[in-house]
Symmetry: C2
Subunit: 608 residues, 2 copies
């Protein structure tokens, strides 16, 4: 191989691995205009099986990228959960039904199931529209990070050298490529090459729970086959996950003797198969019958519960998704945690790359996401134990009762839905003035609510006005602008925000509308207010199409909207300001009189 022939190039971000985590990362960076490449070792995207559950918060996140519409069109929705336990006559019987999602503020109060390949296709098509394609099959063969402090501190440097091997290179062709990257994201799965190359350890342990998974089109008289159903039977546990089209996924508890090779004590996939898995399930289903003509996909696994000891090296190389946390799939968390890892990372990399933020902003990625992963494992331990445990019976008074399981299911609901994810105080989560918007929890995602546009009374979901467009959203709840003294306060605020020394210009400069997006929401009613009543700094000309002045009022038929101030815990006269991070999480709250505190917040991670 001649030295000349090896391709050598620079890139801002190289993403390794094109699963959900890597795709969320590459798509988000591409949308922000960042120079990004993404590689994967597989020759093509997955066709069936794998992870398939999208939780309510993840739907909100996908919506913020304009990707939820297709997900909702193609996927199945799980609204209801059902619970079956041993009946007096030996089989199972339904002990209850409940909402599948228990987070009351979820905008989409259901889970979506769709096979991983279809979910990946949504990202791939979105990326293709921005001319970013997954390069495959390619594997990294070496990675080096410069230890030069000046180089690491310089956002314009390319301190990472990574060597790639093109697996489909023909004989005689050069199959090697050298890339110099500013940042690398290892989203390369549970067996992450990046993680191993960096010597990052996984903390945690293997469990003794062995499960099989099989995707079928069932023929059954079971009445809850289209609900997420947990079956506890004396013949083992089983979870039903209805899927897109007519498909259903079954998670089936297995015993050691069914799958463990007695000689070496390891799981032996050859000892089982989809027909066997279905037979085991059939015993749990009795007296109902379930059959299938063919099997779409199947696997078996032992639950491992581990978290990576660190999520980054020098805030230059990151790992995300399964590369940094593994846990049981039954609560449908895997793909969601993975996508939300990189959703958290994308805007931070973008800000540093643009020179808007200090490198230290990137430290909050591990801070926020590792804590979350630890909580996830802790939840998974409790849930897996309950789910894999024997049902309570006369003979087994220590078993798991319906009430116990249901209570856990509902208690964990806020967590499993992703709605309850709560980032702890840090440079980007400032809880000082929570009292001005007592129900807009700082560190949690901005809750959804419908407001109407002042100019034409058209209802809008606020979350749709807070897209993942890498801008901080300054949501100004201007209060009752029909009150004279409040009108005066709002005019003062407008003057402050328009001033050169105000935070908008200090941190946004001339192109402040690429950094900040200002929305105003008044508590006054639609018959009273003119959008022209607000100072110009708090509204843009209506010709910007997206609404910028909203009212906390119902639509003309009182079908949607209203009570937003109450829902958010904001004083309807005096209002409040809510700073929403580019990823949709609440960064801080302030009173209208205290724009200085917003400046202080921003100065803790932004360059002025």
């Amino acid at each position: 191989m001649s030295r000349m022939a090896v391709k050598e190039s620079d890139v801002d971000v190289l993403v390794i691995g094109a699963g959900p985590s890597g795709l969320m990362c590459a798509n988000g960076l591409a949308k922000a205009g960042v120079d990004v490449r993404i590689i994967d070792q597989r020759p093509s995207k997955v066709a069936a099986g794998q992870a398939d559950g999208i939780q309510p918060r993840t739907i909100e996140v996908l919506q913020s990228y304009g990707l939820a519409e297709r997900l909702l069109r193609e996927g199945n929705q799980m609204h209801m959960a059902a619970f079956y336990n041993p009946s007096a006559n030996g089989g199972i019987e339904r002990t209850g039904r409940a909402a599948d999602v228990t987070a009351s503020t979820a905008r989409f109060p259901f889970e979506v199931t769709l096979h991983q390949g279809a979910i990946e296709a949504i990202f791939l098509d979105s990326m293709a529209s921005m001319s970013v394609r997954v390069e495959r099959p390619i594997i990294p063969t070496s990675i080096k990070l410069s230890m030069d402090e000046a180089e690491l501190a310089d956002p314009h440097s390319h301190p990472i050298e990574i060597v790639l091997k093109h697996l489909d290179a023909e004989d005689g062709q050069v199959d090697t490529e050298i890339i110099h990257a500013k940042y690398v994201v290892g989203a390369d799965g549970a067996h992450s090459w990046v993680r191993k190359a960096l010597g990052i350890t996984m903390d945690g342990e293997q469990t003794n729970y062995i499960w099989g998974v099989v995707d079928i089109i069932p023929e059954t008289d079971f009445p809850d086959i289209r609900n997420r159903t947990a079956i506890h039977s004396h013949n083992g546990s089983c979870m039903i996950i209805p899927r897109e089209g007519d498909k259903v996924r079954l998670y089936i508890q297995l015993t050691d003797k069914e799958v463990i090779n007695a000689e070496n004590g390891r799981v032996d996939k050859a000892k089982t198969g989809p027909e066997h898995l279905l037979q085991v399930a059939q015993r749990s289903f009795s007296p109902y019958t379930i059959n299938a003509q063919e099997f779409d996909w199947w696997t078996i696994y032992i639950i491992g519960q581990r978290v990576a000891s660190q999520f980054s090296v020098n805030e230059r190389i990151f790992i995300a998704g399964d590369a940094c946390h593994t846990h049981s799939p039954k609560a449908g968390q895997g793909m969601n945690a993975s996508m939300n890892d990189t959703h958290n990372l994308v805007w931070k990399m973008t800000y540093v790359l643009r020179g808007w933020a200090n490198n230290s902003l990137l430290e909050t990625y591990e801070f926020e996401r590792r804590k979350y992963a630890q909580d996830l494992i802790s939840f998974d331990k409790k849930f897996s134990a309950l789910f894999s445990g024997k049902p309570r019976s006369e003979a087994n008074q220590d078993g798991v009762s319906h009430e116990q399981f249901l209570e856990a299911f509902q208690t964990f609901g806020a967590f499993t839905s992703g709605i309850g994810v709560h980032y702890a105080p840090s440079a980007i989560v400032n809880t000082a003035h929570q009292e001005y918007a007592s129900k807009v929890i700082i560190g949690q995602r901005m809750p959804p609510h419908v407001f109407i546009r002042a100019a034409d009374a058209r209802p809008y979901e606020l979350q749709d006005l807070l897209p993942s467009d890498s801008r901080f959203k300054i949501v100004v709840f201007v209060g009752d602008i029909s009150d004279a003294s409040q009108g005066e306060r709002v005019r003062t605020l407008g003057t402050e925000m328009a001033a050169p020394e105000g935070f908008v210009h200090r941190f946004g400069g001339k192109s402040h509308d690429t950094v900040f997006d200002v929305l105003s929401i008044s508590s006054a009613t639609k018959n009273k207010v003119n959008y022209t009543d607000l100072p110009v700094a708090l509204r843009t000309h209506w010709s910007n199409w997206l609404p910028r002045v909203l009212l906390d009022d119902t639509d003309m038929f009182a079908r949607v909207g209203g009570k937003g101030y109450e829902t958010y815990g904001i004083d309807p006269l005096r209002g409040a300001m809510v700073i929403v991070r580019p990823d949709g999480y609440v960064g801080m709250v302030a009173s209208l009189e205290n724009t200085a505190t917003i400046g202080q917040y921003l100065s803790s991670f932004m360059k002025s």
Copy 2:
């Protein structure tokens, strides 16, 4: 021109004119699998201006063809109306705001505005996906209808010979084509060639009201520029119609001297222009200012109010849209009436062409749509007079007051929204058993309501389960199936519907599921019911994906659904059957015990 060279061919339906009426016709027929061609004299679709208002009922209709999503994405929504009248100090002031749409059952409680070219593009793209394209520029030059009674009675005959001229034929090329059609639809506008060729007269008269229209991107301090606003001023009347993007349409009342040529008494377009129209509007807007940099489109017109004396010749040649009714554009009816004409016609032609229905079914087209057109003219006369009239003032006590205008605006609301369209009794509208579903008005469109799917508690809008797929929908409100005696009645009904002598098999034959679609809706709650409780004739296997067994209950979060039986006026224990025509209008209602009456209804127009 050699005889051999003239192209001569057969077609089931030839549509002449590719405006909204013709496009709705061709798209609907193509969707039903009918052999259809559509021609237009224009070399390309319209680019700007023209009609642009889509009423609530028309949105429902477009939704039933799967076309509303794009309309809603691209169009502007008008939720609010505002009213301005002369103020004490000489200019105008707002006298009130109100809902733009007053029909309380409207599923989409707003009007959509979007320029005609964009609306046509929605149809053109839909048709292209079915390989139907508008052939243009082509004009018809002669039309002949056989008067042979046997030929006219035979649904397989091609009794119409029509000669077409291709306007873009090059020198030496043959520009003539002869088509033999089973049916012809003349949707060729207010100056319809088809109507004139058939000698059909227009009944009615010209008014004295002269109006100008101009589309602009305004610069203004007028606070209701994004609402549908009616301005009555001492300087004339003006109507604001906000449009897609930043555009606004102004309808401006003109005086004779501004546009009438004194010598011949006719409207002289050369006497005015967009700048002049805007100047006239500026006088009405005072004390507010309105300006524009450029003009997108403009025209002037005198309101004519006419209806064609007949809508068909021998139920073989039909006219539709502007070809059979002209009226003022300000209530936004034109395009809507036109599209709904052919929406009404499409399924009837389909049924006769398939040999399912007698020719007499086609008589109901004129019966239903001419009556509607007459109502429309009658409404337009009242509304135009009010709108063109002088405002009430000290000096003019006979003028139009705000209260008078608002009352008329709201009274006419059900009509202008299209929601109130009510077809009179006929072979296809049988009002005999209205009492079993007292609020599902027979002859009106099936009202929207959200129900949940029994199998998984997922909410569905019932209208979305009644698409324009040329099937009659048998909506079986099965009542409370948890009640033993009702369960028995429902099982009996299931047996009757599955029987060879039952109406389903009598009129649907072996392929009855292409003629009828059966849906069941129970009043029992989601915690009680299994979808498997219903007889098979009243539910299809869940694998048909579209839900067929629904419940009148809320979703898991009580956000949508519930009270459907109450809304529809149906006994929650005993239920009722509602027969919805393929165009979404209610054809009849029956009790569960009286399937015989459904058979009688169908036999009045269907072949068994």
